[in-house]
């Protein structure tokens, strides 16, 4: 069993020694009655990709705009490269922002779109240098053959590459990316996120990447900051947050399918579910009522020994793995099985939780794990109509099994 909802992973990891490039101290921002940012502390190392993850309305965009200087914080301080920049104009900060909407000039050629930021007053680049940088960015982003095409005639992926190109030609000190891949096709997102990580590494320029997509966050991040309602709930490496989330709210932010959260209570040396099914051995200590968090891959779907039975409701084959939705212990539980599970809707199975990897949250704990939040996290009791579904699923087996 893991330590109670581990507090590990709080605070910047892996940055010992080197001074951070960017520091935010107690930054708060209000719009009318809405608290957009609430005492944000954050550090970014000089060669780091930090992902800010959170649902819609968490304050992610406000955070980026505040760092860019497009918003002024009400209180708090920003330091960049050792200088305090809190009151600085956006142009003086030398950062580049890339938005979800590509914001290109549609009639201009790719070349002209890339050139535009280089002609900004104050930059005073010579013509040859401008040409050199355009060629460099185009090469890096695989746009060389598109340079003379109008932006309106590019594919979505090409447009987003041009938007990124416009950010990198200036060689800014910091990249700020606001969900730049969100409007693209799923397949393209998958390819571009890898390209973006490699590009950033080559440029050795720090980046803050905002997203609500957990796959993007896990895959890209050197470190993740989980934001909710304007507050930092946890920061750490992807693995720290995935394996040791501080609260159910954070646990739900990462992982697909989402972590299983079950209300459990202590009884006769076991943790039992609301309907009395024994789920896990109790190794002592702490409050008697908890929320048990189990990642879908940490449930063996058909243990050999005598264990409480469940009924398979849905089988989803997703290539390298299979997701099973199982009615078990009075709950609806997701299990992720490598390869192709030989299960069909209606099958009786014996799920088993890997006790070494399960997490026990204290629903009464202060920071984000409070009872009200837990309530919101738990799946609704009557999610789907079970009897109907079981019947129809067995009449209409959804997937071909080998």
């Amino acid at each position: 069993m893991r330590a109670d909802a581990g507090r590990a992973g709080q605070g910047p990891a892996g940055m010992a020694g080197a001074a951070p490039f960017l520091t935010l101290r107690a930054v708060s921002k209000r719009f009318a009655t809405t608290r957009a940012l609430e005492g944000i502390d954050l550090e970014l190392a000089a060669d780091e990709l930090l992902v800010v993850l959170g649902p819609t309305g968490a304050g992610k965009t406000t955070l980026l705009r505040t760092i860019a200087g497009l918003e002024q914080p009400d209180t708090g301080e920003l330091r960049m490269g050792g200088q305090e920049v809190t009151g600085w104009e956006p142009s003086a900060r030398d950062v580049a922002l890339v938005f979800q909407n590509f914001s290109l000039y549609p009639r201009w050629s790719v070349r002209r779109n890339l050139e535009f930021p280089l002609r900004a007053p104050g930059l005073n680049l010579r013509g040859a240098e401008v040409e050199r940088r355009i060629a460099w960015a185009a090469e890096l982003l695989n746009l060389t053959r598109r340079l003379d095409r109008p932006a309106s005639r590019l594919s979505g992926g090409e447009m987003q590459r041009v938007a990124i190109g416009r950010a990198i030609v200036r060689r800014p000190r910091l990249f700020l990316m606001d969900e730049p891949l969100t409007n693209l096709d799923a397949k393209l997102r998958e390819v571009l996120r890898v390209e973006l990580v490699q590009l950033r590494r080559e440029l050795a320029t720090p980046m803050i990447f905002v997203t609500h997509d957990q796959a993007e966050a896990l895959s890209m991040a050197d470190r993740i900051v989980v934001l909710s309602e304007g507050r930092v709930l946890q920061s750490g490496t992807a693995r720290e947050i995935y394996e040791r989330p501080v609260s159910p709210v954070v646990a739900l932010q990462l992982g697909h399918p989402a972590i299983n959260l079950l209300r459990v209570r202590r009884q006769a040396g076991q943790w039992i579910s609301a309907d009395g099914t024994p789920l896990l051995r109790d190794e002592g200590g702490g409050p008697d009522e908890r929320v048990l968090g189990v990642r879908p891959e940490d449930i063996a779907w058909n243990a050999a020994e005598a264990a409480p039975e469940g009924v398979v409701r849905v089988v989803e084959y997703i290539g390298a793995s299979t997701t099973l939705v199982v009615d078990w212990a009075g709950e609806c539980v997701h299990a992720l099985v490598p390869g192709r599970a030989a299960a069909r809707p209606g099958d009786r199975v014996r799920p088993r939780i890997d006790g070494a990897r399960a997490i026990l949250f204290d629903p009464a704990a202060a920071d984000g794990g409070g009872p009200d939040r837990v309530q919101r996290c738990l799946p609704p009791a009557a999610g789907l109509r079970r009897p109907d579904l079981r019947l129809s699923a067995s009449l209409n087996p959804s997937k071909e099994m080998p």
Binding site: Q214, L218, R239, E297, V325, E400
Partner: protein, 359 residues
Amino acid sequence: MSFLQLERLEKTYPDGTRAVVGIDFAAEAGELVVLLGPSGCGKTTTLRMVAGLELATRGLIRLAGREITRLPPSQRDIGMVFQFYALYPHLSVRDNIGFPLRAAGLATPEIRRRVAALAHQMSLQRLLPLYPRQLSGGDQQKVSLARAMVRRPAIFLMDEPLGTLDADQRLALRELIRAEQLASKVTTLYVTHDQEEAMCIADRIVVMAGGRIRQVGTPAEVYDRPADLFVASFVGSPGMNLIPCQVAGRNGTLQLLSERGQLRLDVPFELAARAPSTASATLGVRCEHVHEDRDGPISGRVLIDEYCGSARLVHVDTPCGRLVLRADAARAHALGSELRLRLDATQASLFDAATEARL
């Protein structure tokens, strides 16, 4: 006869753009068929032709034994769910769901009864008195789903119904759609660009690109036996590793082509035998069939180690190009470190290098 049949269906726009270039497929009664493909592949145009929102340039559409190619949408008996919720903002949830019944001239008590029953079934009761602006995106889309379902049409047409939702809501709604569809047994045509969504929800997938159908099959068929290179790279996250190779005689080996000379790889005889000897081909291998092996024939350096929570995707630069392998989440790979790899050839696919079709 199949429940829904599309025959030689074509759509050419007045400006000459050929959005759909002659497609044929059929959906059986009660089936959920997903039209899957990248932007601009013709999937939405196809759905809109079935809905009657676009008129086919050529070809036929039959639904439940009737030809409907040129019928107006209102006479086709369809229930449509769009990417954007398209609810009436001035009507309550109750009246939004009841709207199609009111339009069909049902009596008020009957409408109330049916709306209440469906709301109960979909756990929407608490939303009934609210207005669309008071709902989250996920709840708005649930209401829009309920509105499509209340009338029990001959077919549901769903155009990226999860499109604009946050990840957690997407999963919940996807499961709800599948559960309701299985329970109601209404034939469903579902459009998405997200291959994982398609794999999870479909009885069968129609993969489209460039206005044409590339493959029709169950999720397992499309994933395990892609019909061509496009399907191989589009389906799966990530897509198949594709390695240029040459068939070496009849001894059951393939030679993988690399920049630095050639690598020999034993493959099952049938696979190599399908191609003429010495033919150029492309070997397709899923990331879960690439393994780290000290004695493996392929060496490479780690380019990227993508952590995914339940696994890792390790991108390795090899003489055969970039290969991605699925590895244990618990063990990170240092960038630049050396690996040797083995391909599980029994699980591989082989494609003709020229036609790109499966061999």
